[in-house]
Amino acid sequence: MFDVDVIRQDFPILHQQVNGKPLVYLDSAASSQKPLPVIQAMDEYYRTTHANVHRGIYQLSERATEAYENARKKIARFINARSWREVVFTRNATESINLVAYAWGRHHVKAGDTILLTEVEHHANIVPWQQLAAETGASVAYLPVDERGCCDMAALELLLDNTVKLVAFTQMSNVLGTILPAEEIIARSHAAGAVVLMDGAQGVPHMATDVQALDVDFLAISGHKMLGPTGIGILYGKRHILEEMPPFLTGGEMIRRVTKDSAEWNDLPWKFEAGTPAIAEAIGLGVAVDYLNRLDMHSVRQHEIDLMSYALRRLSQVEGICLYGPHDPTARGGAIAFNLGDTHAHDLASILDHEGIAIRAGHHCAMPLHQKLGVPATARASFYVYNQPSEVDRLAEVLEMARQLLEG
């Protein structure tokens, strides 16, 4: 069923040459490519259906509204939300987290409170909390992780004192690939009376995620990392929490009534969607979810475990390589960071690019983690549904060449 050759046919971008070499795209953790059904759905939308949504009394607008709201329902089902009202469209995972930091944080976090993060977080799940802390007098604490990104669960118990109002952690490290023990973190945080936000930017595209089973309070997702278009993200929130939150952005769409002096908010989820939404993008993301469902998220996960097993084996043969993250491929997602001797990751990336291989090099928006690892930068290869073992081979071969070239 899960046939990479067939899948690759749906991704036109992969079939190109870079510097005369076939493109090997290994940067899906930064942003995934898009399959034809997603690209075509948006194209079709603009050619046949576009109009502003929700208020229009004419067929284009009614069709556009239905398509937009239908996408929301698909996404709600994909993460097993209780209701589509719990799914808010944003621009990206970053905006989703900021929405919570502003609209929930500004009203629940006070001086003396603690916001607990982990040491593997992406800047998107650090800086909004630093800002909230600076404004409110709260403080930010970090759950320590070991050099493979595994959380110190004993430390969690100690850190979860009664000042902790919010625990925000990533489902999967975007650098080390480590999958965090979400259920346990959530359950213990709840037991300690904290609200929990999970950054699903890396996890949701790669593993089946059930917000009800996890019992998570907030979940942030980026559309562009899960085969969807740019410009669309998701904030899931438990309904009763979203209900009592004030709005974040205000304006049209999110109001029921406005007078010169006051305004009354619209129902969920529109209370949090001010102005004309990213309509085509929501529709595109809905189709991306259809595509992932068709592949089946368990098969997606298995594919990445297989590929990662192979990558761990093959890459460890490269002399001088240092592979970061868990050794066990089932304990990690499809991203792997590495360094090669004393060579700077930027040089690796340049040389790989010259051979048509796209990886990422730098701090991957996780500077505190790199400070912990004691390196300014790492190189990172990351996989998705369209990647295959032969691409791992290419990567390993060129890394071997690079070593020889740079070490001379």
């Binding site: 700077h344 990751a345 040089d347 340049s350 040389i351 701090h363 790199h370 070239l405 740079l406 001379g408």
Partner: protein, 133 residues
């Protein structure tokens, strides 16, 4: 592949010229590029005729930033401060002799930025002319 990181880059990277700190530099400046962790410091010894007597660079980073720093210090030897101020982006790129994307350009130009900081002093640094439309 071999034509990409050309021999001269690799040479400068493996065997940098003027690597090291000066004991009592008349001018010194350091900057880093947080994106990649590259750090470059440049020390100058400028004599009473405004001529650069000695130059040293230190720091660490990628082959491009290290090689271009080494190349830049070579260019500085025996130049006056005024002449040093005239050095620009093109001089570095010509010396490297390869095409670089915007991220790597920052690596390549870090040492030039540090040099400008050293010769102008931070307060009188001319505006970045990187604003071309």
């Amino acid at each position: 592949m071999d034509d990409f990181y050309r021999e001269n880059i690799l040479d400068h990277y493996r065997h940098p010229h003027n690597k090291g700190e000066l004991a009592q530099p008349t001018h010194t400046h350091q900057e880093d590029n947080p994106l990649c962790g590259d750090v470059i410091r440049i020390d100058l010894d400028v004599n009473e005729n405004d001529v650069i007597d000695q130059v040293g660079f230190s720091g660490e980073g990628c082959a491009i930033s290290q090689a271009s720093a080494s190349m830049l210090t070579e260019m500085l030897e025996g130049k006056t401060l005024e002449e040093a101020k005239q050095l620009g982006k093109e001089d570095i790129l010509a010396a490297l002799g390869i095409e670089l994307g915007p991220v790597r350009l920052k690596c390549a130009l870090l040492s030039l930025k540090v040099l400008k900081g050293a010769v102008y002093g931070l307060s009188s640094l001319p505006d970045d002319e990187d604003e071309d439309w």
